[in-house]
């Protein structure tokens, strides 16, 4: 599975709904996506990909596309 597909699975697990991820998608598009869900998402992505994020990594993320880019960048470095 590529990063996008694995991210989709993570989002579906966290929000317990079927989602099709788009790069432009933000918390405004998913009513359940509040701050607690957001941090749950970050930790679940860390576990899924074996990564560890810093607050600097995640504080400027604007949308799903940037989250996927972040994971891609981190995976290249590992």
């Amino acid at each position: 599975m590529n990063v996008r597909n694995r991210m989709t699975a993570v989002f579906c697990r966290i929000f317990n709904i079927d989602l099709i991820l788009t790069d432009e998608m933000t918390a405004r598009d998913v009513p359940e996506w509040d701050s607690l869900a957001h941090i749950g998402l970050i930790i679940e992505i860390e576990d899924e990909f074996g990564l560890k994020f810093t607050v600097d990594d995640i504080s400027d993320l604007k949308n799903v596309g940037e989250m996927i880019e972040l994971v891609d960048r981190k995976l290249i470095k590992t």
Binding site: S35, G40, I42, V55, D60
Partner: protein, 307 residues
């Protein structure tokens, strides 16, 4: 959920909301959440505070909100990591001090704006302030003393509230961070209260003031220390007999500079008693309901003490 947007005339809160919406939309619900729980009183207090502190500097408010986003995210990330170990990251006071208190950029762009806005945007911090207003301030007024020490001034919020709520008081603030003291000075100047206050860059354990004050405030300092009891003993010497103090501490709330882990208000109270304080009142509040029963939640312990 109530929607504050149905009410008009909250331009400063609108600025905070706009920054949250554009840069961290997952946090933007916090304003309506607080409004729903605490009502229009909360909105009015928050708006008045922002308008006095930031005046016409909209850009500074936007920067502060960005600092808050990062501060809150950092705390939430650490909270999740804390769930796995139930320990704070091992750190000495010297390390925390170098990373945070003596780091002027970190203090002014993230830490201080984060704490300032958290007084309004975090449920347990706002409840702590309500407790201060509803319980501590009436006791202070009834006591009639005229002096107070605020030890660990942070943003200057509680020094300012003492002076604002109890006219005629004279206060002194103590801190080891020049950034905290300069923020406090600015806070008091913008609220036109600086004439009754003095800032001291001073370690009260090594150099305890000899003249006791009628009142002491000590807000969320204990968890930053390696030896809170030694600090509390110093604090006890600073309080006059029959004086009153409000002492608070963060419980199960990891942060970049939190060293000493408290698990309950009882642990904080036990240390205060060891330092020869008498407990007059206490409470403990959670920041939010956990998503899962075993998830930890940041909480606050608040004590009113005397001696």
């Amino acid at each position: 959920m109530e929607d504050y947007k149905k009410l008009n005339d909250y331009p400063y809160i609108d600025t905070v909301h706009k920054v949250l919406m554009s840069e961290a939309p997952y946090m933007s619900g916090v304003i309506n959440k607080q409004y729903t729980e605490f009502g229009k009183t909360w909105l009015d207090f928050f708006e008045a505070d922002l308008s006095t502190f930031f005046r016409d500097n909209n850009e500074a408010l936007q920067i502060a909100t960005r600092g808050y986003i990062k501060f809150a995210l950092d705390g939430m990330l650490l909270q999740k990591r804390f769930d796995k170990t139930r320990q704070y990251e091992s750190k000495s006071y010297e390390q925390a001090s170098a990373e945070v208190y003596q780091n002027e950029k970190y203090m002014h762009t993230l830490y201080l704006p984060g704490i300032y806005l958290s007084h309004f945007l975090w449920r347990h911090h706002y409840i702590q302030h309500l407790f201060f207003i509803e319980k501590f301030v009436p006791m202070v007024k009834k006591h009639g003393g005229k002096t107070f020490y605020d030890v660990g001034v942070g943003t200057g919020f509680y020094s300012r509230e003492m002076l604002r709520c109890i006219p005629g008081l004279q206060g002194e603030g103590f801190d080891l961070s020049p950034s905290s003291l300069s923020h406090t000075k600015k806070m008091l100047e913008t609220f036109n209260l600086a004439q009754n206050y003095r800032c001291n860059l001073q370690d009260i354990v090594l150099n305890t003031p000899t003249k006791p004050a009628s009142f002491i405030t000590n807000v969320e300092v204990l968890e930053h220390l390696e030896d809170p009891v030694a600090f509390l003993k110093g604090l006890n010497k600073m309080l006059a007999p029959n004086g009153l103090g409000m002492i608070t501490a963060a419980i199960t709330a990891p942060n970049a500079d939190h060293i000493y882990l408290y698990n309950s208000v009882d642990e904080v109270a036990a240390q205060a008693v060891e330092a020869r304080f008498k407990i007059v009142d206490s409470r403990e509040d959670a920041a939010y309901q956990p998503l899962k029963p075993n998830d930890s939640v940041p909480r606050n312990a608040v004590l009113i003490v005397t001696k």
